[in-house]
C-alpha cells in the first residue's frame, strides 16, 4: 500500500508523457527525429505547434518595427524585398532572445581614399528561441559613411567604432531572426491593423536614381525613341534618365547614364540627352523639366495693399 506522501507525489504528476509533449511544442526544447517518431501521430501536432510559435514571434517582431527601420530593394525582375536596418534589430532582439557575445576588439583597416578607414569587429550570437548559434560574425563601418560627415579626429574614430558595433549587433540579429530579406507582402501582413505602411519604408537600390528614391517622379514615358548612346568606357547601352530635381533642389536636364558606371569610376559615363539627339542629327526633343517654376515675386500692392486699402483688408461681412 502506498504511503500518503507517495500518493501526494503521484497526484502532482498525473501524466508525465502529457507534460513532455506540451514541453516539446516549444521550439527551444531540443527534440530529435527519433523522439518524434516514437510519438507517432502526435509528432505532427508537435511540429505544427513549434512552427506556429516561430511564425507568431516572427510576425510579432515585424509588428514591433517601424517602416523607418526597413530599406526596400528591387531586383531587375521587379521583386521587392525589405532589409531590416541596425536600429530595427534593437527592437526585435528581445523577442527572439538573441544574445551577442564573445565580442572582440574593433580592428582598424585603412581604406584607399584619403581619410578613409574602416572598423571591423566580430562576435558570436545565439538565439534562445531556436537554439541556433552563429560564430565569428563581422560588423563594420567606414569613416566615409553619411553619419560621419563633418566629424574628424577622435570624434570620428569613436563614431565609426560605435557604428561598427551596432552593425555587428544588427548582423547577428538579422542572421538569427531570418530578417535579412523579407518579402514586402509579409511586411504588410505584419502591419495589418496598425498605421504602418510599406510605402513609408525607405527605398534603396533598384528604385531609380537617388533623387527618384527620395520622391522625384520617375518619367520613363519621356524616353525618346531610337538608339541609345553607348558608354565610352565599357560600350554598354546607356539608360535614359528623365529631367528632374536633385536632392539638393537643383534642376537637371534629361541625360543618359551607363548602367555599369560603378565599374569604371572616373570615366565619363553620362551624356546629355540634348547633345545625344543633336549628335544623332535629329531635332532634339526638349525634355520637359520637373523643376518648379520660379515663383514670381509678390508685387508691392500684394504686400502693402493697394492705395487706400491695407493688405488683407476684409470687406464687411468677411469677418472670421
Amino acid at each position: 500500500m502506498p504511503l500518503p506522501d507517495e500518493l501526494d507525489r503521484a497526484d502532482d504528476v498525473d501524466d508525465p508523457t502529457a507534460e513532455d509533449s506540451l514541453a516539446l511544442r516549444r521550439p527551444d526544447v531540443p527534440v530529435t527525429l527519433a523522439e518524434l517518431a516514437a510519438r507517432k501521430g502526435e509528432a505532427i501536432e508537435i511540429i505544427e505547434a513549434r512552427v506556429q510559435v516561430l511564425a507568431t514571434v516572427r510576425k510579432a517582431a515585424i509588428r514591433s518595427t517601424s517602416p523607418e527601420d526597413w530599406v526596400l530593394f528591387k531586383s531587375k525582375d521587379g521583386r521587392i524585398v525589405a532589409y531590416l536596418q541596425d536600429a530595427g534589430c534593437d527592437r526585435i532582439r528581445d523577442l527572439f532572445g538573441i544574445e551577442v557575445y564573445n565580442v572582440g576588439k574593433p580592428d582598424k583597416v585603412l581604406g584607399q581614399a584619403p581619410g578613409e578607414f574602416f572598423y571591423l569587429i566580430s562576435g558570436d550570437g545565439r538565439c534562445s528561441l531556436t537554439r541556433q548559434v552563429v560564430e565569428q560574425i563581422e560588423g563594420g563601418r567606414s569613416s566615409l559613411d553619411d553619419v560621419c560627415r563633418g566629424k574628424s579626429g577622435a570624434d570620428l574614430e569613436l563614431t565609426v567604432r560605435k557604428n561598427a558595433r551596432a552593425n555587428l549587433d544588427g548582423n547577428v540579429t538579422r542572421e538569427l531572426a531570418g530578417l535579412k530579406s523579407v518579402a514586402v507582402d509579409e511586411l504588410a501582413a505584419g502591419w495589418v491593423g496598425t498605421s504602418k505602411k510599406v510605402e513609408h519604408c525607405r527605398q534603396g537600390r533598384g528604385f531609380g536614381t537617388q533623387a527618384e528614391r527620395l520622391g522625384a517622379e520617375v518619367r520613363t514615358k519621356d524616353q525618346p525613341t531610337g538608339e541609345a548612346p553607348k558608354c565610352s568606357a565599357c560600350g554598354a547601352a546607356m539608360e535614359f534618365r528623365a529631367a528632374g530635381v536633385s536632392d539638393a533642389g537643383k534642376a537637371y536636364d534629361a541625360f543618359w547614364s551607363c548602367p555599369k558606371r560603378r565599374d569604371h569610376p572616373g570615366a565619363n559615363t553620362t551624356v546629355k540627352d540634348a547633345d545625344w539627339q543633336q549628335q544623332r542629327g535629329t531635332a532634339a526633343k526638349p525634355a520637359p523639366t520637373t523643376a518648379p517654376a520660379a515663383a514670381s515675386a509678390p508685387t508691392g500692392d500684394e504686400i502693402f495693399g493697394a492705395k487706400g486699402k491695407p493688405a488683407g483688408a476684409r470687406e464687411p461681412g468677411q469677418e472670421g
Binding site: 527551444d28 523577442l95 564573445n102 538565439c127
Partner: protein, 336 residues
C-alpha cells in the same frame, strides 16, 4: 566675406555655424580623476571606472548639447539670484549662501570617493545648519513627470541627479535639502529627506568604493548583465567597452487550455464591447428610475449608500504610495 552675394538663409546658416564653433572652443576635455563625480552614479560600475580613468575616450559633446549646458548654467545663476531676493521676504526668511562650494565624501578607507560642487545652501535661521539646494534645468519633458523626489529614480536621465543630492545631504550631515527644477512656469521646489533614501546612498557609496578599488588595481569590473538598454545608452558602448548584450526572449506558453480560453475570448470580444457600450448607455438613461416597464422588460432600481473621502491634497499626498508594479495591463492580439 562678400555680403552682397550672400542670401539671408546663407547668413543665418553661417551665424549658426559660428555659434557652434564658439561653444566648441569653450568646451573642456575631461581629464582622468581619482574619484567619482557626485553626478556620476551609474548602474554599471565598469562605466564609473571608465569615466574616471578614460574620460578622453568619450565622444565630444555636439554644439547643440553644449548650448543646452550653457542655458542650464545661465538658468542656475538666474534662479539662485532670484532665490536670494525671495528669501528676504519669505516666511520663514532664508538666505542663499555657499554657492559652488566643493564637496568631498570619503569611503571606509578614508579615500576621497565622491566629489562635487554644491550649487548653493539655504540658511533658514541662525540655529540650524544650512541645507543644500541643487538646481537643475532639465528638459521640460523630464520635469513634467516629476512631482516628488522619488519620481527622479524612475527615469535613467534624472536618476544620477537624485543620487547627487543625497550625497550632498549626507556630506553636510543635514536631514533634508531641496531640488530646484527650472520649468516654464514657477520653478518646482522638491523637498528631499535623507532618512527615506539611506539605501540609495549606501548603494552609491558602495559603487564608488568598488570603482576606486578597480582604479587602484588597474582593472575593470565585470560587464553589466541583463541590461542591454543601459549598455546602449552608455557612451563607451561599442568604442571602449564591448559587452555581450541580449534579451531573455518571449515566454512560450503551450497550455492548450489557455489557448482555448484565448480563442473563446477573441470570439466574445466584439459582443462584450457592444454589451459594455449598451449597458453604459441604458444605465445612464435610467439612473434614478426606481420602477418602470419598457415593452416586455421590467426595470427596477434602488438607491444605495456610497461613501466618499475628500482629503486635503497635502494629506492625500502624504499617504499616497506608488507601487511601480501595482497596475498590470494586458493586451491580446491575434497574429496568425
Amino acid at each position: 566675406m562678400d555680403t552682397h552675394t550672400t542670401t539671408p538663409a546663407d547668413l543665418a546658416a553661417a551665424i549658426t555655424t559660428a555659434w557652434g564653433a564658439h561653444l566648441a572652443r569653450g568646451a573642456r576635455q575631461a581629464s582622468p580623476h581619482p574619484y567619482v563625480y557626485a553626478s556620476a552614479w551609474r548602474p554599471c560600475v565598469r562605466r564609473m571606472v571608465l569615466e574616471m580613468t578614460q574620460p578622453d575616450a568619450l565622444p565630444v559633446w555636439p554644439p547643440d548639447v553644449l548650448a543646452r549646458f550653457r542655458r542650464g548654467d545661465d538658468r542656475e545663476r538666474d534662479l539662485l539670484a532670484d532665490l536670494a531676493r525671495i528669501g528676504r521676504d519669505a516666511t520663514p526668511p532664508f538666505s542663499v549662501i555657499g554657492q559652488q562650494q566643493r564637496f568631498e565624501l570619503r569611503d571606509h578607507k578614508s579615500r576621497v570617493a565622491i566629489t562635487g560642487k554644491v550649487d548653493a545652501q539655504l540658511k533658514l535661521d541662525h540655529d540650524r545648519a544650512a541645507v543644500p539646494i541643487e538646481v537643475k534645468a532639465w528638459s521640460p519633458f523630464l520635469v513634467d513627470r516629476i512631482e516628488r523626489f522619488e519620481d527622479l529614480f524612475d527615469n535613467p536621465w534624472t536618476r544620477p541627479g537624485a543620487y547627487q543630492l543625497l550625497t550632498y545631504l549626507f556630506g553636510a550631515a543635514v536631514p533634508f535639502g531641496f531640488l530646484l527644477l527650472d520649468r516654464s512656469g514657477l520653478p518646482l521646489v522638491v523637498p528631499v529627506e535623507l532618512h527615506e533614501h539611506f539605501d540609495k546612498l549606501e548603494d552609491f557609496l558602495a559603487r564608488a568604493e568598488q570603482a576606486l578599488d578597480h582604479q587602484a588595481a588597474g582593472t575593470l569590473p565585470a560587464f553589466l548583465e541583463n541590461d542591454a538598454a543601459e549598455c546602449q545608452r552608455c557612451p563607451f558602448y561599442g568604442s571602449t567597452c564591448n559587452p555581450p548584450i541580449g534579451g531573455a526572449g518571449v515566454r512560450v506558453l503551450t497550455d492548450p487550455e489557455l489557448e482555448a480560453l484565448l480563442t473563446r475570448r477573441e470570439a466574445l470580444d466584439a459582443a462584450a464591447t457592444e454589451f459594455d457600450r449598451i449597458d453604459k448607455d441604458i444605465k445612464g438613461r435610467l439612473r434614478g428610475i426606481e420602477s418602470a416597464v419598457a415593452g416586455p422588460f421590467l426595470i427596477e432600481g434602488r438607491w444605495g449608500k456610497q461613501s466618499k473621502v475628500d482629503l486635503p491634497a497635502a494629506l492625500k499626498a502624504q499617504y499616497t504610495r506608488t507601487d511601480p508594479k501595482g497596475r498590470f495591463t494586458l493586451t491580446v492580439t491575434r497574429l496568425s
